[in-house]
């Protein structure tokens, strides 16, 4: 059975005056997916989330949440199915944590009886329920923010830099909750700078640069598409360094020598050939360590390299099975 899209963005562009902040973005998300939006500040992540929420209108293209246009004031179903945690969440300072959650719960026509349980789920200490939000720390506000985003068990969670400025324990709790939601069949879009943190949860990563999607796919696909060199460290028997260097120089992009340790870089496609050549050298090579590029390097590669990536090729089907759903046109 073909799953229908929870969210569908079709050729979305957004201009602020003469500036184009989003450029022909296509995106579709199905239930149970966790999509990470990555990109440097000003890449268009928050604008994309605001378009999904119906807070702003696209200059071109269309947005559909559960088949409804979120900008339309009659699209109550779409708004009820969304949960949003802004990057800098703010609450009414005169209200307590529990009152705040009850207020938002009523607006979503959800029973207020679930509020205390939700606050417990996000790990807010019960002594803080009746305290004014103005006394809350950044972490407590984020917990409350996550609780309000979870109100009504929304089908699509939009989290804008949810762990920015939080301690590692709290970050872990946030990601655990995201994972639970995805496992329960909910879709989650997380905007984040740190791919490493959310790598385990991400089904798909979309990297934005200057408003355009420059890469899209699973973490593994991004590694492959980036074609970043592998780092290989060889421990050589003393006196044979030059021999090893000569035999592998055709495949190595760069070679660094330090005592009896050779550190080389090679293309991923040459990896197996490289290993064969090392094996042919026999016991001259005492040890070998292969390090793939770090995810942060992959992210930086796309975020800083402009639009010349494999994902630049337009996809004819935005919901194609290989999950390469974003296309860009410079």
């Amino acid at each position: 059975m073909v799953k229908s899209d929870l969210l569908s963005l079709s050729n979305i562009s957004k201009n602020y005056g003469p500036d184009r902040v989003l450029n022909r973005v296509n995106l579709s998300i199905q239930a149970g997916e966790c999509v990470v939006l990555a990109g440097h500040n000003g890449a268009g992540k928050t604008t994309l989330l605001k378009l999904i929420l119906g807070l702003i209108k696209p200059t071109e293209g269309s947005v559909s949440v559960l088949g409804q246009d979120p900008v339309n004031k009659k699209s109550v179903k779409a708004k009820r199915s969304l949960g949003y945690l802004p990057e800098r969440v703010s609450f009414y300072e005169s209200m307590t944590g529990l009152e705040t959650l009850k207020f938002y719960s009523k607006l979503k026509s959800e029973p207020v009886s679930q509020c205390a349980a939700l606050l417990e789920t996000v790990g807010l200490d019960s002594s803080a329920y009746s305290r004014s939000v103005s006394t809350y720390s950044k972490g407590m506000k984020q917990r409350l923010g996550l609780a309000q985003a979870l109100l009504g068990d929304p089908d699509l969670l939009l989290l804008d830099e949810p762990t920015s400025g939080l301690d590692p324990t709290l970050r872990r709790q946030f990601y655990d909750i995201i994972q639970q939601k995805c496992q329960a069949g909910k879709a989650v879009i997380v905007s984040s700078h740190s791919l490493v943190e959310i790598e385990a949860q991400a089904d798909r990563v979309i990297i934005l640069n200057k408003g355009s999607v420059v890469a899209s796919g699973s973490v593994q696909e991004l590694y492959q598409q980036s074609d970043l060199p592998l780092s290989i460290q060889l421990s050589i028997k003393s006196g044979h360094e030059q021999q090893v260097e000569d035999s592998i120089s055709t495949l190595a992009i760069s070679v660094q020598k330090q005592n009896s340790i050779l550190t080389l870089e090679c293309k991923p496609a040459d990896k197996m050939e490289f290993i064969k050549q090392i094996a042919d050298l026999g016991d001259i090579v005492k040890d070998i360590q292969i390090k793939p590029p770090r995810l942060d390097d992959v992210y930086l590669h796309y975020a800083l390299s402009g639009l010349s990536t494999p994902s630049e090729q337009p996809s004819s089907d935005a919901t194609s099975s290989d999950k390469t759903i974003a296309e860009t046109h410079s």
Binding site: L53, L55, S90
Partner: protein, 275 residues
């Protein structure tokens, strides 16, 4: 539960917590009682009852105070929330922008009503007690309370318009103070200047009176002085207008226009605004 009602409840609770309700009641009530006690002296001389005297005194007071309180309540209703970031989150919920304005506006209207009913109403009760239970002029007093509320509603609507137009809270308060000065002080001064300079040569008195409809505070004065005209003398600018030029219906319609226009405009602008 309706989103307008939910937001109204929240705003009323905020009004109670941040002392807006209590301070408005104390301000209006305290000044009304003071004016009633001090202003009761001339009742014997001009043969007018205490409540009518209070209407004149409170009309002069309300023209300054009610617009000020209304502006203070409303100037940051939207821009304040926008600046603090709470508006962004609120609008992601199933609530329309018109409902946001109506919810907040109705709460502010209720706060004003409470302040007027308790403040001015309490003062009226003291007046009646001091006059040994004589409540003549009570209807005029009730009209004054109702028109004060209407005046407040108009300035609340203007405050909402300011709050939707500007981008910063500090700008909103500057514009609100400027608007208060124009409506309460400068407009009348300008009209007086024109009147004195013209000496009724090119501007007729009827046209001059019509110009007063351009200012809700003058309409408010005309409305209240029309009600009690003949019973006492007045010396305000509105007193110089021929109050018979406007029927009650005309004044009410103009009041409604003054209320509806800024409110509709505020909703329109707010609906088009991108966050």
């Amino acid at each position: 539960m309706n989103a307008v009602f939910i937001l109204m409840q929240k705003e009323l609770r905020d009004g109670l917590r941040n002392r807006w309700i209590i301070s408005s009641v104390l301000l209006l009530g305290g000044l009304a009682i003071l004016l009633s006690l001090v202003g009761s002296t001339p009742t014997g001389t001009v043969n007018a009852n205490m409540l009518d005297i209070s209407v004149v005194s409170l009309t002069s007071l309300s023209v300054y105070l009610i617009p000020l309180i209304a502006f203070m309540l409303s100037f940051d209703a939207l821009v304040g929330e926008s600046e603090s970031g709470t508006l962004l989150l609120l609008l992601t919920y199933p609530i329309t922008r018109a409902q946001v304005i109506f919810g907040k506006f109705s709460a502010h209207l209720a706060i004003l009503m409470l302040a007027i009913v308790i403040g001015y109403g309490g003062s009226a009760c003291i007046n009646i007690l001091l006059a040994d239970g004589n409540s003549s002029g009570g209807l005029n007093y009730l009209w004054m309370m109702l028109s004060s509320w209407m005046l407040g509603a108009i300035f609340l609507a203007l405050g909402y318009l300011i709050s939707t137009i500007v981008k910063q809270r500090s700008t909103a308060i500057s514009v609100a103070i400027g608007a208060w000065l124009v409506f309460v002080v400068l407009f009348d001064l300008a009209l007086l200047g024109v009147l004195i300079a013209d000496q009724e040569q090119s501007i007729s008195q009827s046209f001059f009176s019509k110009l007063m409809l351009l200012n809700p505070t003058d309409m408010y004065r005309i409305f209240n002085l029309t009600n009690i005209s003949g019973s006492i003398e007045s010396y305000s600018l509105a007193g110089s207008a021929d109050t018979q030029l406007f029927s009650l219906l005309e004044l009410c319609l103009t009041f409604i226009c003054w209320l509806a226009m800024p409110l509709i405009l505020a909703i329109r602008i707010f609906q088009r605004r991108e966050l």
